[in-house]
């Protein structure tokens, strides 16, 4: 790129407002995809059976968690290894308010989101304040999640290891978010929540705060020398991330009618928040959703296939552990074949 020196125009001369290079249709395109996607998914319950739906719902819960996780770890660049903490806060806030105070889960969702955001911001602030980065940050968040788990197991108000049972109401109730077993509403509601979560990510990523967060992720020093309040930018990402994850937790309690410490705060939950995002593609809007859509049903599919396996495999029938082993193998293969995640890899192919 050898330029011949031309006398440069003074800075204040702005390009025309309708300059094609200024056009940025990204957000609009994402929104269209979102609308279409939701419309299509909304029809699923009509074709799914009882089990199909329960798997689909679990998948949706995964997806919401992953979308939340991705805001902090993908776009914010702070790898959270302790999102169980925020999912758990959601699940327990919902359970506690409902069981002990009869408060509607809808309200709990808001309370939980705020509470979890506050906690998340506090934790993140401490970690960043003390300059924890990379693996150290990740493990610190993990440690906090573990502490939450252990503390909950020792708190009488939260029934220690017993957890909470949601009372089964005789009839459907919107306010209490309870419907006939297998009602499509159990699918549509989390679908709506997911849609909102994705919408938030789309808007956030393009917002000032979102742009700042990504800049800080790429190069903290450069960002701060451009006048960006790096701490603030990061904490906003954390707050959104934790809030969304908490809502997933509230819904979990509602749908499963029972939540205990392990279901809410167990380290497995933290991992479940990460897997879809990584499989689908970290730091992308659709990666977590696609990842969840793949991983969620995967184990059930494998189990179903192996329950009555094709002839040549029949000798394997009923070997306990086989289904999980196969599932694990598939997981490994996906990651190796698509190192940037399904969405990330496909997008790269597309571009070049």
């Amino acid at each position: 790129m050898t330029e011949t020196s031309v006398s440069s125009p003074p800075a204040h001369e702005l390009p025309a407002a309708d300059d094609p290079r200024l056009k940025d249709t990204w957000a609009r395109r994402q929104l269209i995809v979102l609308v279409v996607g939701v419309a299509v998914l909304a029809c699923l319950p009509l074709v799914l059976g009882e089990q199909g739906e329960s798997v689909a719902i679990r998948t949706l819960i995964f997806a919401i968690m992953a979308v939340g996780w991705n805001l902090m770890s993908g776009f914010g660049g702070m790898f959270s290894f302790g999102h169980a903490a925020f999912f758990g806060i959601g699940a327990y806030t919902g359970a506690y308010l409902l069981v002990d105070h009869g408060i509607s889960p809808w309200i709990s969702m808001i309370v939980a989101a705020v509470l979890s955001a506050a906690v998340g911001v506090t934790i993140a602030y401490l970690c960043l304040r003390y300059k924890l980065a990379g693996s150290y940050f990740a493990l610190a968040t993990f440690a906090f999640a573990q502490m939450f788990l252990l503390i909950v197991q020792n708190l009488d108000v939260l029934n220690k290891t017993e957890g909470f049972n949601v009372e089964i109401l005789p009839s459907d109730s919107w306010s209490m978010l309870q419907f006939q077993q297998g009602s499509p509403l159990y699918f549509w509601i989390p679908l709506a929540i997911l849609a909102v979560a994705v919408l938030i990510s789309i808007l956030y990523v393009r917002s000032r705060a979102g742009q700042y967060a990504q800049a800080v992720r790429d190069d903290e020093v450069a960002a701060s020398s451009l006048g960006i309040d790096t701490m603030r930018a990061r904490l906003i990402a954390v707050a959104l991330s934790c809030g969304i994850t908490a809502v997933a937790g509230v819904y979990y309690t509602q749908y499963y009618f029972f939540v205990g410490p392990e279901q809410a705060f167990g380290s497995a939950v933290s991992v479940e928040a990460i897997i879809p995002a990584v499989i689908g593609g970290i730091g992308t809007i659709w990666g977590p959703v696609i990842g969840a859509a793949v991983v969620g049903p995967l184990s059930e599919l494998v189990a179903t296939v192996l329950r009555n396996p094709p002839g040549f495999l029949s000798f394997l029938q009923g070997t306990s552990g086989l289904d999980v082993a196969v599932y694990a193998t598939l997981l490994i293969i996906i990651v190796i074949v698509m190192p940037k995640g399904i969405f990330g890899t496909i997008r790269d192919r597309w571009r070049s």
């Binding site: 702005l14 450069a222 451009l226």
Partner: protein, 241 residues
């Protein structure tokens, strides 16, 4: 108080675990001045910039910018007062396009829409507009250098600290860059300029400061300064000129 220079540095000192990188430096830069800084490798030029821009906390001394004492302020706070630096080793936001890189800086005092437009304007000014859409990661060195500059300019600074913006540019690339810097200065930008390429230093600097072992060795009119034997001895080398 009486009208004072845009940047006042008094007794600025920075020590790293025993080693004194910058020791009691006093410099003052007038508004709209173009100050060149030269000095051997390790003289403390970059560290000085880091101290001024708040990237590093000083061990001692004061930094007063535009009448405000900014000593010990965080980098982001300093940057918002209109004192902006560039980096010797370029640090683009790799995940973003060139335009987005600059927009980030424009956002400092604009709405998102205007920022994007303003950023493009800046890119045009630094002749990087044709790369607006490309990802900053794959820019060649010359592009990256301009990007560093563009990002700083997008902050609309009063004063800009340029750390070796010409390093790594072939002579053919340098000319337009020098041209550009001259224009910017003409438009009223104050500049502190660290560079080892003497041709450029001489072409641009109104005043020249020579640093050595963290101290100000000497300063004054460029032509005179580079004639000083101690400067030749410490920096330029005999076979120069």
């Amino acid at each position: 108080m009486a009208l004072m220079s845009l940047l006042e540095v008094q007794g600025l000192t920075k020590t790293f675990a025993g080693l004194t990188a910058v020791s009691s430096v006093d410099i003052s830069v007038e508004d709209r001045e173009f100050l060149g800084i030269i000095g051997p490798n390790g003289a403390g030029k970059t560290t000085l910039f880091s101290l001024l821009a708040g990237s590093l906390p000083p061990t001692e001394g004061r930094v007063v910018f535009d009448g405000v004492d900014v000593t010990g302020w965080s980098a982001q706070k300093v940057a918002r007062t209109g004192l902006v630096r560039t980096f010797q080793l370029m640090r683009p936001f790799e995940s973003m396009s060139v335009l987005e890189n600059v927009t980030i800086a424009s956002l400092a005092n604009r709405s998102r829409k205007d920022a994007r437009r303003h950023a493009l304007g800046v890119l045009e000014r630094v002749q990087l507009a044709q790369y607006a859409g490309t990802s900053s990661g794959s820019l060649p060195t010359a592009g990256l250098k301009r990007l560093e500059l563009a990002r700083a300019l997008a902050m609309e600074p009063r004063m800009i600290l340029l750390d070796e913006v010409l390093a790594g540019l072939v002579p053919a690339e340098r000319a337009p860059m020098i041209e550009l810097l001259r224009d910017l200065h003409a438009d009223g930008l104050s500049v502190m300029f660290v560079e080892h390429i003497m041709a450029a230093v001489m072409a641009l600097s109104e005043r020249l400061v020579v640093m050595h072992d963290g101290r100000v060795l000497t300063q004054g009119v460029p032509a005179e300064v580079i004639a000083e034997p101690q400067v030749i001895e410490a920096y330029l080398g005999e076979d120069y000129a």
